[in-house]
Symmetry: C2
Subunit: 127 residues, 2 copies
DNA sequence: CCTAAAACAGTAATCATTACTAATTTATTT
DNA sequence: AAATAAATTAGTAATGATTACTGTTTTAGG
């Protein structure tokens, strides 16, 4: 678990998540890998994503149409979610590192999530 | 629809959401009203919440344990979500009104969501 | 190679949410 | 107010994401 020796499937799932910037759902990861590894199980993808979240290897970004979307880039950064096409964009800023803490006294902030919702330029230009 | 004459049930549901600061789930609203209105249907709560969201009377705040949590206060403000007890706290700030727009060129920002995740003071003190 | 623990495939179960339909409520017209 | 049409609802069934379960396979160590 805690070590660096992941099983073959577990490593494949993590690599797939780390290599894309599509902020995928569990099903997306499953279908991408299914092509090359037909005996992969959807439950395995879910189970491993849950595990990665616990270990901080992956974060939950948003929920689009009932599906949780995750990000393998755990460096603190903002996101833009397009309400029209459902795409999720990364927004990196020079002060991502010193993300604001919650101003409520006596509260302990683990993670600060900044998300913009709206229409992306592609959808605006397509109209 | 667009007018001010809501059906009895619809108005009840909206009032319940507006009157609480618990950032309720659909089921919470349903169970709260069910006590006094035993013939209320859960589907009606869901349908009306969807409608309120479309009309901008209510916003979606976060998703906790698979349940969407909403807020009847549509004034822009931040939230703190306690990972331990699942409570959602409002965080009002002097510059809520001029919430940042997404810095990506050509993108249209409808809503900026700032959420802190961590442990609330109650949970910290309880340990 | 042997053995025990961990991980997996495949399927069934769970649970939030949505869809559907017949009945009820609300609005409109007389 | 009665008659009619439109909107809303209750109750239930369907959907779809996620989780749980069980028997099998993979992995790690000796």
């Amino acid at each position: 678990m805690g070590g660096r020796n992941f099983s073959k499937k577990r490593q494949l799932i993590l690599d797939t998540i780390k290599e894309t910037d599509s902020h995928p759902s569990a099903r997306w990861v499953y279908e991408k890998l299914k092509a090359d590894f037909p005996d992969l199980s959807l439950g395995t993808v879910y189970r491993n994503i849950a595990l990665f979240k616990e270990e901080g290897l992956v974060i939950s970004v948003t929920n689009i149409d009932g599906e949780e979307r995750i990000d393998g880039n755990t460096h603190e950064h903002a996101h833009f979610v397009c309400k029209e096409c459902g795409c999720v964009y990364d927004i990196f800023s020079s002060n991502d590192d010193n993300a604001a803490q919650c101003p409520l006294a006596g509260f302990e902030t683990d993670r600060t999530v900044l998300t913009y919702y709206g229409r992306c330029s592609d959808c605006i230009n397509r109209e």
